[in-house]
Amino acid sequence: MNALEVLEPGPLTTIQDDGRPGWAHIGVPPSGAVDSGAYARANELVGNPEGAAALEATLIGPTLRALETVTVAVVGARAPDHTRTLRPGDVLETGTTRGARAYIAVRGGIDVEPVLGSRSTDLLTALGPRPLTRGDLLSLGPEPATAAGAPQPDRPPAGPLRVHPGPRDAWFTREALELLQAATWRVTTSANRVGIRLDGPALERARHDELLSEGLIAGALQVPPSGRPILLLNDHPTTGGYPVIGVVANGDLPRAGQLKPGDEVRFALA
């Protein structure tokens, strides 16, 4: 049964859950909510179990109309995080996001056909549902047994993103690793769920031979020939041949997922 109608999708709103881990060896990215913390809080606010599919909005959230009575939570929009009950005909305007992304969870979870065990949209490989478009009708899964949770204040840690050097730090000059920490990097307009291209000084390589393709992980700072790192996010390719100078600490990945074009970012060795 359809519970919500998409009046305006915003620039990019996708369905996300906790992704499809376990398939990287056949070339399938992990996908899933980029700010896993905000996504989990949104689900908690409506009493959904972990892993229920929610909406991930980018920069500007969607406008949704309720077709039946639904409980929704919005986390990461300009408006403080909140839960709301919508009656049939009520309209939810998410508005702009605080960081790059906001999450809208609906009690019951968004019900779409899972692909390889996940309802996430993967923008690299087009697996999973396509991004929302105007007029889409969303249906929900079964009512969860748990009650809705209380809103928790969002206290994102400040400071630089912590980076673990490697696996290919030895492919760079000693100065490159120092520069990675010393420089203030700017998020370019090439920033999406696949990765974030950073602008700043070039990180120089000590080795110039070609790296044979190897497995990649979200948080990896992959350095293409330009020397400007790309911070890989959840829809990253599973293998690549550019050396990875360091990997952002797993606990700081949700924050990395909130970086938007124009933001400044700094790194510190973990």
Binding site: H25, I26, G27, G166, P167, G215, P237, N250
Partner: protein
């Protein structure tokens, strides 16, 4: 002791560097069986990336070395035959680059026995190694925006088949009608690391 170098890849992964592709395939297979805590085991050309949510108690480098010291088992590798029609748009160019006739390019490409080294770039895209060294050609300078699904292509030491339409910089020798990736099928990818592949000329 076998040759294994472990390099940290953040706080929830380790990159194991191995001597060659065959070692990577064997180590990946062993870790997958021996270490259920790993959420991903991703072979590369001669590496294995092991990823976890909860760090395994086992020493992964030691497990890898142990797997390599054991006599090679036949394992679950299978031989898969893929029908290929050799009429690709880059056949003449590859012939020119290799100083072979287009016919000889086809014969050399089709008669080789390939092994799937690893899968990457796109779901189900197998990097095949073991092909004729005369056919090692660089990628195109300008990648194509749209390579048709089923395109059989070469680049560097690899041959590959594009499972779906998409951008790509490899040189196209032919095409197959074989469906290499379907998420609704079990297993979703026809080719797995370690599989042997024969290309049958159509």
């Amino acid at each position: 002791m076998s040759d294994v170098t472990a390099r940290p890849a953040g706080d929830r992964a380790l990159l194991l560097e191995l001597a060659d592709t065959n070692a990577a395939i064997r180590v990946a297979r062993h870790l997958r069986d021996a270490c259920p805590e790993l959420t991903e085991v991703v072979p590369g050309h001669r590496t294995v990336l092991a990823v976890w949510d909860t760090r395994p108690d086992a020493d992964l480098a030691a497990l890898a070395a142990g797997a390599l010291d054991e006599p090679s088992s036949p394992g679950p590798a299978q031989t898969i035959e893929i029908p290929v029609t050799y009429d690709g748009p880059d056949l003449a160019e590859v012939a020119a680059l290799t100083h072979l006739s287009p016919e000889e390019v086809v014969v050399r490409h089709a008669r080789s026995d390939y092994v799937v080294a690893f899968i990457g770039f796109a779901p189900g895209f197998a990097y095949l190694v073991g092909g004729d060294e005369r056919l090692h050609v660089p990628r195109r300078d300008e990648p194509r925006e749209r390579v048709p699904a089923g395109s059989v292509a070469v680049a560097g030491p690899y041959s590959g088949i594009y499972p779906r339409e998409g951008p790509g910089g490899w040189r196209l020798l032919g095409r197959t009608t074989a469906m290499l990736f379907d998420p609704a099928r079990e297993p979703p990818a026809v080719l797995a690391p370690g599989d042997r592949v024969r290309l049958a000329t159509r």
